[in-house]
């Protein structure tokens, strides 16, 4: 199990930006404090802002995002297998079609068997939002919100804003230009971002808790009371950054899926609130 090294800073929660997190492959890395054991494998994402890719004219350009914990890597097949072992209602053969469609874990060999084609340490995909949420809940976590996920993923490898870091955007576009490989690579192989989170780009898409707030498809034309400025062409005109192609891809994906969909390249990772009482001893 990889651990995050959390270097101690004098007065941490009042100086969140001073907390340095290093993604580390070192075995047996010591945790700073006992309390941190609950967050093993998670990266602390410091408070920051999220700039929605598409927004209503009445919405602010920036949304404040509080500090939170985010899984440093997407959930793997092995981890999800363990979950369905202990939570039989989430096995492929038993799950309600309301909560996961027929593609749910469809590439696994059997209910409790990954099979040769599915690497245990590759990210689990073909999981529904309900299943991802149940997994997170079972681990005392939740799914990150869109704002949190985007806030974490906006960071570069070494700079706070990836978009202006040389090579960062190119690396993402490179990934988008390639078809999804089969089998998927293992998690945690790429370069971690500034906060120690791996694979936010470059491996799979990820569920967010409030994905259904992305209203860029039919809803804006037919069945919502949404402002007219989210209409097709005008939607792009109201967009933050017309060059953020990956951002449009994610927004488009979120608006096109439903909570019981199981999609071949859509996985997830967990998040957790910062607990001001127990986390303050970092």
């Amino acid at each position: 199990m990889n651990a995050l090294i959390i270097t101690r800073v004098p007065n941490p929660l009042r100086h969140l930006f001073g907390v340095v997190l290093l993604g580390s492959g070192m075995m047996g890395a010591t945790l700073a404090r006992g309390e941190d054991a609950g967050h093993v494998g998670m990266a602390l994402i410091p408070a920051g802002t999220y700039e929605p890719q598409l927004r209503n004219k009445d919405e602010p350009e920036q949304v404040a995002v509080g500090a939170f914990w985010l899984d440093a890597r997407p959930v793997t097949n092995a981890e999800f297998l363990e979950f369905v072992r202990t939570h039989p209602q989430w096995r492929r053969s038993r799950v309600s079609p309301l909560f996961a469609d027929r593609a749910y874990l469809a590439d696994w060999a059997a209910d409790l068997e990954l099979g040769d084609r599915i690497p245990p340490d590759a990210p689990v995909v073909r999981v529904s939002w309900f299943a991802a949420r149940a997994f997170a809940k079972a681990h005392g976590k939740r799914l990150p919100t869109t704002a949190e996920w985007e806030r974490a993923a906006a960071a570069g490898f070494s700079q706070a804003i990836g978009a202006t870091e040389p090579g960062f955007s190119a690396a993402i576009l490179n990934w988008l230009a390639r078809p999804t490989p089969a089998p998927l690579p293992n998690v945690g192989q790429g370069r971690p971002n500034l906060f120690g989170a791996y694979d936010l780009h470059g491996l799979v898409w990820e569920w967010v808790d409030d994905f259904n707030t992305a209203m860029t498809t039919g809803e804006s034309r037919a069945d919502t009371g949404l402002e007219r400025n989210l209409f097709c062409g005008a939607g792009a005109a109201g967009a933050r950054n017309l060059n953020d192609y990956p951002g449009f891809m994610r927004a488009g994906l979120r608006s096109s899926i439903r909570a019981n969909y199981a999609v071949p390249n859509l996985g997830f990772r967990g998040a957790r609130d910062l607990n001001l009482t127990t986390d303050s001893s970092l």
Binding site: N56, D58, E59, P60, G66, S96, P97, L98, F99, W129, F130, K137, R142, D209, D210, N212, T213, A214, M215, E219, A222, D223, T224, G225, L226, E227, R258, A259, N260, D273
Partner: protein
């Protein structure tokens, strides 16, 4: 942000404790006597009523009533979705301070009811669920009921953000709050059969309700 997370946590804890112990006691203890199918035959004096006397058949795997969680009606009484089991439902998600779409949505539901045959209409349960879980307290829902002249055949419900979100996901309703506190949202009227399975959805406002009426008229036979 913060309070809603607490609510979510509370709901998680609630769900955990609920599954650990006797589940449905809440629905019997507090609900008014005329209402719930699950409690009707049980004498009010027995507190542990529902534990052994739930509707016997398990829910179908397409039933929305598989959603756990505790809901609160506009009388401030807790309830569970399975208490709707037994009769068809017309369901919409809304918020009470809505300026335009929601009154129209309710009007559409009334038009749909008007289009039903006289023998089917009284059997249909009308359910409105708010996604404005912060502002739509039972009192706010009660005010909406009065404003919209909704009689006792209408059930107005709220819950935790997480439970409302799951229900919205199941019926495919999207909603998003803007900076003024208004919600952009899908306008959908969902028809459920007695088992809580979606049998039809009416998309958009002021549409033709004859298709939905036909589905309900036939489901009542």
């Amino acid at each position: 942000m913060k309070p809603s997370f607490h609510l979510i946590i509370a709901s998680v804890l609630g769900a955990l404790t609920a599954t650990a112990g006797e589940t449905p006691a809440a629905c019997c203890a507090v609900l008014p006597t005329e209402k719930p199918a699950c409690c009707a035959p049980v004498p009010a004096a027995k507190p542990a009523c529902c534990a052994g006397e739930k509707p016997s058949a398990p829910l179908s795997d397409k039933s929305l009533y598989q959603l756990e969680g505790e809901w609160i009606n506009d009388a401030g009484q807790p309830t569970v979705l399975t208490s709707l089991r037994g009769r068809p439902v017309i369901l919409a998600l809304f918020f009470a301070s809505c300026e335009y779409a929601c009154p129209v949505l309710v009007h559409d539901m009334k038009r749909l009811l008007a289009a039903l045959s006289d023998d089917v209409r009284p059997t249909i349960q009308r359910v409105l669920v708010t996604f404005d879980t912060t502002r739509d307290t039972p009192a706010a829902l009660r005010a909406f009921r009065e404003r919209m002249e909704l009689d006792s055949s209408w059930t107005l419900l709220t819950s935790t953000p997480a439970d409302v979100q799951e229900l919205a996901m199941l019926v495919g309703v999207k909603y998003k709050q803007d900076a003024r506190g208004q919600f952009a949202h899908s306008n959908l009227i969902t028809l459920l059969n007695g088992e809580g399975e979606v049998i039809h959805q009416q998309v958009g406002l002021m549409g033709d309700v004859s298709g939905a009426a036909k589905v309900l008229n036939e489901s009542g036979k």
